[in-house]
């Protein structure tokens, strides 16, 4: 599942995800009818329209017991937890976040890339992993890449303030939380900021560029694919 942000803005995250899965020997299927998981109207409280989008997503992405992988804990949590709130009488489908899939299903504890990636990385852990038990998996894989140095982050488990529509509907809260996160991420002078969710990175990157900080923001999948 591509996610709508990667569909609209960050194609390379989807491309990298495909390369990673193919590298591991999986046959990757992409259904070009896919759109969105329904989380935006769901979080906004418009559950009527959220149900329509969720039903559509279910019919396209989860018609059978195929393995579904997505490079976003937020979309995976929507399918597993959000659909349960929208349709309480149904068993929600299974959707794996990429790092969760690589560690829990494939069973990796280190990444099999051979190239060196010499960077000091500030890693932001996306919050929606909390709902589905995704925490340090991506960091574990990144740390095994030759050359990568993961920097410690003060209050590292705190939210970045993106929160989907929260970032425009509650703009002042989002901005304050975001600036606090940027301050702690930049404290140890990283070469780049890496996360597992493009929502967080779109918000953090936008905040930093507005302040004139030109530091790359990347999805960990891009790094894993590059070092293959």
């Amino acid at each position: 599942m591509l996610t709508c942000l990667c569909d609209a803005f960050y194609g390379n995250v989807g491309i990298s995800t495909t390369k990673i899965l193919k590298h591991l020997g999986y046959h990757v299927h992409f259904d070009d009818r896919q759109t969105c998981c329904g989380q935006p109207p769901f979080n906004a409280g418009d559950w009527g329209h959220a149900r329509e989008v969720a039903r559509y997503c279910q019919s396209v992405m989860f018609p059978d017991d195929r393995l579904v992988v997505t490079p976003s804990a937020s979309c995976a949590a929507m399918v597993r937890e959000g659909y349960h709130l929208l349709f309480p009488d149904e068993k929600p489908p299974m959707c794996y976040e990429l790092s969760e899939f690589l560690t829990s299903v494939v069973g990796l504890s280190e990444w099999s890339g051979t190239k060196t990636y010499k960077r000091r990385i500030a890693f932001h852990r996306a919050c929606h992993g909390r709902a589905i038990g995704v925490s340090a998996q991506a960091e574990m894989l990144l740390a095994s890449v030759d050359g990568v140095e993961l920097l410690p982050i003060e209050n590292g488990d705190q939210c970045c303030g993106f929160g989907g529509a929260f970032c425009v509907v509650e703009p002042h809260l989002s901005e304050r939380i975001g600036h606090e996160k940027v301050r702690t991420l930049l404290a140890n002078e990283p070469d780049e900021i890496v996360s597992g969710d493009m929502g967080c990175l779109m918000h953090l990157g936008g905040l930093m560029r507005k302040d004139g900080t030109r530091i790359p923001v990347r999805h960990y999948a891009e790094i894993l694919a590059e070092v293959i």
Partner: protein, 454 residues
């Protein structure tokens, strides 16, 4: 339309925001360490906490009956208050009978009495309530309201507290916390000697034995409940534990979650008024059991919020609370707890917007000692609020739904992405005011896929 919390974020003085952030963030880190150390597994303690309070809510009627019966056997006088008005009337009635108008009443820290705005009623009737918890005392002399259920002046620093004490002529200017405590202590000691009545809250009511349990660190609750002739305790009806043995888990679970302690400096187990032959303790102990909207919550979708033991861990860990403190919520209960409890007690129509003041990061559920699923409750509140037209983002979700269920529309929408910067929309300004717009970076996935994989 943004929430009251977001609007408050534009007005909060910088020093207040810094005070809250500086004090709240480390509490979360230390809390996890403390619970792991005490219990070996914080998670197992949380499971026990959730199961026990869940049992209490499922058997609340019978446990309350048992508790009342045991209290009465112990000599505690039990009163039931359906709402704030009735609670205030009951308490005023007890006070009038126990002491002449104009008497000083010492108060131990109690969120239940904050909830019913008891001080205003006592003052209107001519009594002089004095908050004796140091934080609540500062709130009272400043004419402020608490911004945190455990640490009421988390938004103030010691310099500001000293300014208040100088203004009230309690002592000279100082930035030494111990000296500030001594200044308040000297003043409050006098009040304890004067007061014929003490009022407190209740941390746990034990159904098995009819005992009232109070925990604190300053000693003011002990003085409020033992030096006075009459002790009035005010308890939300959900604050029961089935047995004394449950305290073995709940005392460290609450102290650990609230203040990173294994046990608080003082724990009080109040089982009766002074008995014949005893030298101290109040001659009468009254217990006011408060409903005030709780039984309505008990029978609805937000029942689990009544498991809450008021530790404040969800406030300390919340990224929104860390920025704005409690004032922005405009309710006695703030933070993630308040965002559910305030609309629960007073209606989605009045406080439904608080559910929107959250990024849904899930930190609150992670730290909750009784595992209240606050994020999914906030989502359910949004659903209810949206249906009742209390909340509306101004985003046309029907259009979004139309595009997201029709792949042709979706794909043609994607081709417009590079032109997104040209589309005027009020919410776009909320993005671009502080952030640069995202651009399509590199090749689109669909283009790459059709070239390489199809």
């Amino acid at each position: 339309m943004s929430t009251r919390v977001d609007k408050y974020a534009t007005t909060i003085p910088d020093v207040q925001s810094k005070n809250v952030l500086k004090a709240s963030a480390p509490k979360t880190t230390h809390r996890v360490e403390a619970l792991e150390k005490f219990f070996g597994s914080a998670s197992a303690a949380q499971d026990f906490g959730a199961a026990t309070k869940g049992y209490v809510l499922d058997h609340l009627g019978e446990l309350l009956q048992q508790f009342e019966q045991k209290c009465v056997e112990n000599g505690i006088q039990v009163h039931w208050a359906e709402d704030a008005k009735e609670a205030n009337e009951i308490i005023l009635g007890i006070c009038r009978e126990a002491a002449p108008a104009g008497s000083t009443i010492v108060k131990a820290k109690s969120m239940a009495t904050e909830e019913i705005h008891l001080n205003e009623h006592l003052e209107a009737a001519g009594f002089k309530p004095v908050e004796t918890d140091l934080g609540e005392f500062v709130v009272q002399i400043d004419g402020d309201v608490p911004t945190h259920i455990v640490t009421p002046i988390i938004h103030k620093n010691r310099f500001e507290v000293s300014d208040s004490f100088v203004r009230e002529k309690l002592g000279p200017k100082t930035d030494v916390p111990e000296e500030l405590a001594a200044q308040a202590r000297k003043y409050l000691r006098q009040k304890f000697h004067e007061a014929p009545i003490g009022i407190s809250g209740v941390n746990f009511g034990i159904a098995e034995t009819g005992r009232i349990v109070l925990i604190e660190n300053e000693g003011n609750s002990r003085l409020s409940t033992t030096m006075t002739d009459t002790h009035i305790a005010v308890m939300g009806l959900e604050k029961l534990l089935p047995t004394e043995a449950d305290l073995a888990t709940f005392l460290p679970l609450l102290a650990g979650s609230a203040t990173n302690q294994r046990i608080t400096t003082y724990c009080h187990f109040i089982s009766s008024p002074r008995k014949p032959g005893e030298n101290d303790g109040p001659a009468a102990v009254h217990l006011v059991i408060l409903d005030n909207g709780r039984s309505k919550i008990l029978n609805g979708p937000f029942k689990d919020i009544l498991r809450c033991i008021r530790c404040g861990a969800c406030l300390n860990t919340c990224p929104v609370y860390r920025q704005v403190g409690g004032h922005g919520y405009q309710h006695v209960y703030s933070g993630p707890l308040g965002a559910v409890l305030a609309p629960g007690l007073e209606g989605v129509e009045v406080y439904g917007d608080l559910a929107k003041a959250s990024s849904l990061c899930g930190a609150c559920e992670e730290v909750c000692p009784v595992r209240i699923p606050i994020p999914s409750m906030l989502l359910k509140l949004r659903d209810e609020g949206y249906r009742k037209k209390v909340i509306n983002d101004g985003i046309p979700w029907s259009l979004f739904e139309m595009g997201a269920t029709r792949p042709f529309l979706w794909r043609s929408g994607l081709t417009m992405v590079p032109m997104a910067g040209l589309v005027p929309h009020p919410l776009k300004n909320a993005w671009t005011g502080v952030r640069e717009l995202p651009k399509r970076e590199g090749e689109s996935f669909r283009a790459w896929w059709s070239k390489h994989e199809k």
